[in-house]
């Protein structure tokens, strides 16, 4: 089957957009929740006494946490919750009967969902930027940097999808994958991905580990590119690492999917 034949997929994508728009209230609550924590963290970082060797200034922190909600939502993936629910309540059975690859459905849902977040993210980020614009420096921005930035968001989204997808597919065997997800996806992501602490401000050794793990590329990496603090070789190195992780996890996902389908006996109804 040709993955790139548009027709049906566009229709499915449009359907997902409509489904999301039906629950606008939910979207708002979700948005509020995701905007609040970065704001709290930004205030926290603006009031710290810096540890020696921390390269970030107040302006860097402001720019960083201005972009965190944006990147966080654009690279978000809800496949763990959706897929484990589909296995539990049996709706996966219906998905399997359709002449449409079920995993592609999750990919399209993620695109629809993440793009939809821009509806409130862009006005909010703009308002916040107006508020602090005299303290943020954007003079270094060049077209090439912006292209890298967009590419990094795409890569981050794929990495997140691949890692989350691999965990989600374990629902074939494990009844409750949310605990595993909390550790591998939520916890380590928040600690070493750049949510609590920007990766660039870590001490040397922790930063090295964070740069090797895939989590940095889901959040911190695009922002580091945008802030202009990475040299071109560093950017390429980052892309290579992220791509490697995407390939590894896609292969893992494919293997799990094949084995899982064989053991899957469709409980629920």
């Amino acid at each position: 089957m040709n993955i790139f034949a548009a027709g049906g997929k566009l229709a499915v994508l449009a359907a997902y957009f409509k489904i999301i728009l039906t629950y606008r209230g939910m979207l708002l609550i979700h948005g509020l929740r995701l905007l609040l924590l970065p704001m709290v963290l930004a205030s926290a970082w603006l009031s710290i006494e810096k540890a020696p060797g921390n390269p970030y200034t107040d302006s860097d922190y402001l720019l960083y946490y201005l972009l965190v909600p944006l990147i966080m939502n654009l690279t978000d993936s809800r496949i763990v919750f959706k897929f484990s629910l589909a296995v539990k309540d049996g709706s996966l059975n219906r998905e399997l009967l359709k002449p449409f690859p079920p995993l592609l459905g999750y990919l399209l849902e993620s695109i629809a969902n993440n793009t939809m977040q821009l509806l409130y993210l862009i006005p909010f980020s703009f308002a916040f930027w107006l508020f602090v614009r005299d303290r943020i420096v954007l003079a270094h921005l060049q077209p090439s940097l912006l292209i890298f930035f967009v590419a990094a968001i795409l890569i981050g989204w794929l990495a997140r999808l691949a890692v989350s997808g691999s965990i989600a597919l374990l629902s074939f065997w494990i009844e409750d994958v949310t605990t595993l997800n909390l550790i591998l996806n939520g916890g380590i992501w928040a600690l070493l991905g750049g949510m609590i602490v920007p990766v660039a401000t870590f001490p040397e050794r922790i930063r090295y580990i964070a740069e090797l793990l895939p989590y940095r590329y889901m959040l911190s990496f695009p922002i580091e590119i945008f802030s202009g603090r990475l040299s071109t070789p560093e950017i390429y190195q980052g892309f290579a690492t992220a791509l490697l992780w995407i390939i590894v996890f896609s292969v893992i996902m494919r293997i799990i999917w094949k084995c899982g389908l064989k053991t899957y006996t469709a409980y629920g109804g």
Binding site: I29, R33, V40, A51, N54, T179, L182
Partner: protein, 289 residues
């Protein structure tokens, strides 16, 4: 000092009057017995799914650990936050976790249940029962999954006491007790506001998420915010009194006036919320079905 004595005197008088009112006018003992029986039923129900119960406890344990690691990671790049050093932040985290876990055990399951109760019409059934509607909706269910967090938070605070970060001082501990009570009362007020909102709007999903957003504000001391926001958090949006004030009372950094101010505010807020609930339920015309 005199201020504190007067405040204690007045508040104990109020408390006595309130308890008298509850016992004689409100038949509180019978209602408490009903609540305890309902709690037993929910615990038995939870034990039916033992594996899922164990999973939830493990998940909550990791949640606690990751919360702790957050601060450790934070302090690799910072020496102190607005005058709070790493040890002080651990005290704040311990206090925060105590409040969070207590809310999770007592209020969270009721909030989840309330989400679809209005929508499905089950609320009408509850309102016909001869018990206080606010009491039964607030405390009908209990969830023991966060019990471990209370234990871990207590161990954390005990360790900090042992290390001398928290100095043993009866006065401070008393203030801490008072501020913990006001903190829990304030969280309860937010809970009542949310269920009122659910009654008015007839459908409100993910209310717990809204409540948790509020908790995100409490994870760091209010001293980090700009002056105007901090003023709001200390006065009409009492975020400061949920974790920051109890923690600073425990550290001996808070004066008694602030603590009693918070307590008075919490009591007024509870009375106001309960009035609001009576208004909301009075205007309720039944939905769903």
């Amino acid at each position: 000092m005199q201020y504190a004595v007067t405040a204690i005197y007045i508040s104990s008088l109020c408390l006595c009057a309130f308890v008298r009112y509850l016992v004689f006018e409100h038949d509180i003992m019978r209602q408490m017995a009903i609540i305890v029986n309902l709690w037993k039923a929910t615990v038995i129900q939870a034990m039916e799914y033992r594996a899922s119960f164990v999973f939830a406890i493990v998940a909550n344990f990791f949640d606690f650990i990751f919360g702790l690691l957050q601060y450790l990671v934070f302090f690799t790049a910072a020496k102190s936050i607005a005058g709070w050093e790493a040890d002080h932040m651990l005290v704040l985290y311990g206090v925060f976790m105590l409040v969070f876990a207590l809310h999770f055990i007592l209020l969270y399951p009721n909030l989840v249940a309330m989400g679809d109760m209005v929508n499905s019409g089950n609320l009408d059934l509850l309102l016909t029962k001869p018990v206080d509607s606010q009491l039964i909706i607030s405390f009908r269910r209990i969830s023991l999954e966060e019990l471990g967090s209370i234990g871990t938070a207590t161990i954390l605070l005990g360790w900090l006491l042992y290390r001398g970060v928290i100095v043993f001082d009866i006065g401070n501990f008393l203030l801490f007790g008072v501020s913990m009570v006001s903190s829990l009362l304030l969280v309860y007020c937010v809970f009542v506001l949310l269920i009122c909102l659910a009654v008015i709007m007839e459908r409100l999903d993910n209310m717990s998420q809204l409540l948790w957003s509020l908790f995100a504000l409490c994870r760091y001391p209010v001293d980090i915010y700009p002056d105007r926001i901090r003023y709001a958090f200390m006065s009409f949006l009492p975020v400061a009194f949920i974790a920051t004030i109890p923690a600073s009372a425990l550290l001996g950094r808070s004066d008694s006036a602030t603590v009693w101010h918070g307590f008075a505010m919490a009591v007024v807020a509870v009375l106001f919320c309960s009035w609001l609930w009576r208004r909301a339920i009075g205007a309720y015309t039944s939905a769903g079905g």
